[in-house]
Subunit: 587 residues, 2 copies
Amino acid sequence: MILRMSSLFLRTLREDPADAEVPSHRLLVRAGYIRRAAPGIYTWLPLGLRVLRNVENIVRDEMNKIGAQELVFPALLPREPYEATGRWTEYGPNVFRLKDRKGADMLLGPTHEEMFTLVVKDLYSSYKDLPLSIYQIQNKYRDEARPRAGVLRGREFVMKDSYSFDIDADGLQASYELHRKAYIAIFDRLGFDYVIVKAMSGAMGGSASEEFLAIAENGEDTFVRSPGGYAANVEAVVVPQAAPVDASGVPAAEVVDTPDTPTIDTLVDALNAKHPRTDGREWTAADTLKNVLVMLVNPDGSREPLAIGVPGDRAIDEKRLGAQVEPAEVVAFEEADFAKHPELAKGYIGPGVLGSENTSKIRYLLDPRVAEGSAWVTGADKTGFHVLNLVYGRDFTADGTIQAAEVRDGDEAPDGSGPLASARGIEMGHIFQLGKKYAEALDLKVLDQNGKLVTVTMGSYGVGVTRAVAAIAEGNHDELGLIWPREIAPADIHLVATGKDAAPFEAAAKIAAELEARGLTVLYDDREKVTAGVKFKDAELLGVPTIAVVGKGLTDGVVEVKDRRSNTRVDVPLAEVVDHLVSAVRG
Amino acid sequence: MILRMSSLFLRTLREDPADAEVPSHRLLVRAGYIRRAAPGIYTWLPLGLRVLRNVENIVRDEMNKIGAQELVFPALLPREPYEATGRWTEYGPNVFRLKDRKGADMLLGPTHEEMFTLVVKDLYSSYKDLPLSIYQIQNKYRDEARPRAGVLRGREFVMKDSYSFDIDADGLQASYELHRKAYIAIFDRLGFDYVIVKAMSGAMGGSASEEFLAIAENGEDTFVRSPGGYAANVEAVVVPQAAPVDASGVPAAEVVDTPDTPTIDTLVDALNAKHPRTDGREWTAADTLKNVLVMLVNPDGSREPLAIGVPGDRAIDEKRLGAQVEPAEVVAFEEADFAKHPELAKGYIGPGVLGSENTSKIRYLLDPRVAEGSAWVTGADKTGFHVLNLVYGRDFTADGTIQAAEVRDGDEAPDGSGPLASARGIEMGHIFQLGKKYAEALDLKVLDQNGKLVTVTMGSYGVGVTRAVAAIAEGNHDELGLIWPREIAPADIHLVATGKDAAPFEAAAKIAAELEARGLTVLYDDREKVTAGVKFKDAELLGVPTIAVVGKGLTDGVVEVKDRRSNTRVDVPLAEVVDHLVSAVRG
C-alpha cells in the first residue's frame, strides 16, 4: 500500500496544542494522528487509525493464540444487569447514563462483566463447556472527572476485555496464567518498557490481581519495586502488621499540657522543650500517633466518618486510602462535621474517643505499623493536651487496620526483598482473578461431573488499546517527534522525494511501487512545491522508523536511508535500495 | 484458521426465538450469530462477528479503491455542532441524548455530517486540498420507535459513512459517480439482488440522491420500477403536474344536497342516484376531490394543520407524505382540532374554506393530478352538501402541490417509460449530493484559484454494514438455514467428522490442517458424542457454502462434498479432497 502525502488527509502542526500537557498528547496532535472532538473524546485521523489498528491486531493475535474467542457486545446497554450486580449505583458519576425514548434506563458500558457473564449463562450449562475465554475489542465509556493527556485518559476509548470461565479455582489459575503469558507477549510486541505489579482489584471485586504498567514519567500510577523483585502498585502495597512488642516496661499513660500544638511539628518541639524523654533520645514525629478524620461518601450518597491512626511521620496517601474504601469516595471532614461531634478536640484527637465502641462511635482504623504493645504520644481529646505512653492494646483499641499510609522510598518491601523505590507508570493491562462475584450475582451455574449445579469462577483481563497508542508515543519520541516501534508504525517506510526535478520523483515512485509489490506499506512524500526541509521535519514528526530520501544523492546513484531511532544515515545504491529497505523492515 | 466446534463459543437453537418476525432474524439467532442484549441492540457472537467483519472488509476495500481515506470519529458527541445545523432539534426522539457529569449536552451520533465537515474545516483551507473523500466504519445510534427484525433495524449498528468534499458542482458530480461505482462493486460482492432507485434525501438536505435497495419481501421500503428502466423509492416518485385542460364548457359550480355522504363511496352512490351525470357516464371516485386534514408536529413541538386535496380514488401514502414534510411528523387531525375550526364541516370539507387565504387559514396543497381547468365534485363546507363542477383555477385555488398520494401498480412512470410495478426492498446504501447545506451551516470554506473564499460542496454516502448481514441472510437462506455467499461466510469450508471410530476424526483433522496451510478457514465439527444427524442439521443451519463430510465413505476412500446452495453432493477420493475443496472456494 502506498499512502501519498500529496493527497493524504493530514496536516502536521508546528505549534503545540494549547491543552497538551504531555509529549504523547502534543505529538499525536501535531503529527495529525488524533484530533479533539470534545473533552476526552478524540477523532482518529488516517495515520492514527492505522496505528490504533496495528495495536488492536497485536492484541487480537495474542488473544487468539491462547484460544480466546472474539465477539462483540453493544456499547449501549440496559440498566438491569448492572442493577443486579450493584454497579449501576457503585459507578456513581463515572458512568454515562441515559434514557431511551420509552424512558428505559441505559448506560454506555464502562466494562462488560455483566454482559459476558450473562451470555455464558445464556449459552452454556455444563462443565464440559469449560474452560472458556472470550474477548472483545470495543469502545468503552467512562465519564472521567478529569480526562487528561489526550487519549491517555479519555472518555471514549477502545479496550480489549476478556473473561475466563472455569469450573474451579485451579481452572481459573490456569486461565489466569494463560492470559498473563499472552499479556507478556502483547506488551513485548508493543515495545513497552513495562513492569508487572501487584494490584488492587477496585470496584471489580475479586482477589488476585496484577497490573501491567508502562514505565513513564508522566504516568498517573505510582508503583514501587525492590531489588529482590517485589513490584506493586502503591495502592496494592500491603504493609505487614508489626509484631507485638513487650509493653511491660512502659510507664502508665500520662496526660501532659501541650498548649498550641495542633500539628505534629509543633507537638514534637513542645515535647522536647517541656517533656523531654528520659532515655536521652529526642522526641520525633515517629513517636506520635496522628489521628486523621475523613468522611466517606457511599455511592448511595450516605456519609460515614472514619478515623485513621498513623505514625506522625507518615502522611495518608489519598490513592491508597481511596482504593481501600471503594466504592465510597473520600471527602474532607469539615467544620460542620466537627460541630456534630463535640467530643472531638480538633488537633488533639486521640483514641480516647475514637472507635465504634467509644463516645464518638467513629470507626477507628490503625496503620499496621502500630504494634500491639507499642507506646505513643497522641491527642488527649482535650484542646492543648496530649497523652504520653499510651500503649496499643493496653490503653486503647481500634476497629481494625487500614493500608492508607504513604509508602516511601527506602521502606522495606513487604516480602523482605529489600528497600522499595518508587517510579511512575501508565496502567496498560490489568488481570484479575474475579472469582464468583459476578457469577453469583447473575446466577451463572453449570452442572459439574456429578450433575450438581456449581457457580462458575471467572477471571477478567483488560488492555487499554487507545491508551496503548499514547503510552507507546510517551515512551518512543524525541524532541523532533515520534519514533514508532516497527509493528505499530503507520507505515513501514517513509519515502521522501526532494528537489525540483522530475528525476527524484520518478525514482521514488518506482521504489514505492516495488516496495508495495513486496508487501510493504509506504508513506510516500510526493508533494511538489514543498521544501526538503519541511519534508524532513514532517518525517521526523510522524515517526515512521525508516526514512528513505531520494534527492541530491540521486546524481551519484544513491538513496539516503535514515534510521529514525538511532539517527544514523547510510547511502544505499539505487539498485539495492528496495532490498535494503525490505530487510530493514523484516530484519 | 481452524474453528473447532468442540470449543467454539456457539449454541445452535432448534426453536425460533419468540420475537423473530423475519427469516434473517430467526436464522441469525438460531445459528448463534447474534444474541439480543436489549430491544434493537445485539451482541455479535464469534461466527456472527466473522460475517460482520467480512462485510466491513469488502466495504473498506472498495472505498480504498476509489481513494477514500478511513478515519474514525467518536460515537459520543458534543451538542454544539448539531445545534449549529439545527439537527439537535430536528432529530427529535430518534437520537439518544445524555448529559455528562458536568451537565454538558451530548448525543450518540446518528450520522456524522457535522463532524466530517468540521474536521475538514479544521485541516484544509485550499482548493488544492480537494477533492477529498473520507469515511469511517463505526457504531451509530438511533432510538428507533420500533426496532425490528433483529439487526435489520437496530438501535446500535455499524455503518460505513463517507463524505466527499469538492470545490464545485462538477467535482461533486465526479465524486458522486465514483461512490456510485464503488457501491455497485460492494453490492455485487455482497451477493445482493439489488436495485438503484431515486430517493428522497430526507433530513439530510441536499439534492440528487439514490438508494441501493436489496430486493426482499420483508423489506420496509417500497419501490416502483417500469419496464423502461425507471426505478424509485415510493417516497421519491415525483408525479408530474397534469397539463391544464380547457374548462370553457364546464357549467357553473352547483351546490347539491348529498345527505349522509361523509365518505367517497357513499358520495358516489348518492350522486349516481340523485344527481346523475348528463354525459351518460356514471360518477366514480376519480371524479371527486377528497380533502384530507392532518396535523404536522415540528421538532420544536409546534403544530400546524395541513389540508391535502387528492382525487377521491387515491389514498394518502403516509410515507410519501412523511417524506415531504420532514422533519415535521404527521399526526391525526383530532376532534379537538376540529373544535378549533368550526368552519370545517367534517366529511364535507371543500376548497371553499381551505387555503391560507381562506377562512380556515389552513395551508391547502393539491395532488399534481389536479389539472388547472379540471372540474371536481367536492365538499361544500356544509354538512350534507357537496358542490359539482368546481373548477380548479376558476372556482378555487390552493397554496401549492404535494407528492403525497399513493403510487399504484399500473401508474405511468413519471418519465413515460411504462407502467410502474411495485416491490419491496431493504435500504442498504444511500448516496446523496448534499451540496452546501452543512458547509454553509458550519462555515467550511476554502480559497479557490483566484484566492477567493468559496463554500465547499459535499456528498454523503452510507452503507448499512450491520443491516447488510441481515439483508444477505434475508436473501440467502432456505427452510433448513442460512446459505452465505462465499466472501461473507464465517468459514470457507464446514468440515464434519462423523461416526464413533477414530479414523474419520483423524482423517478430518489432517484435512483441516492441510486446508489451513492452504490459507482456508475451516469450521471443523470435531465434536464427539454428537450424532451425524445433529451435525448435518447444524451445518445446514450455519450456512457455510461448502460442507465436507468425513464419515461412512471413508472405508471406500471418499469424502462427501456438499454444495449448500445447490444441495448437490459428490464423493471425492480422500487424496484429492483438499485440492477439490480449495478449488471450490477459489473457483
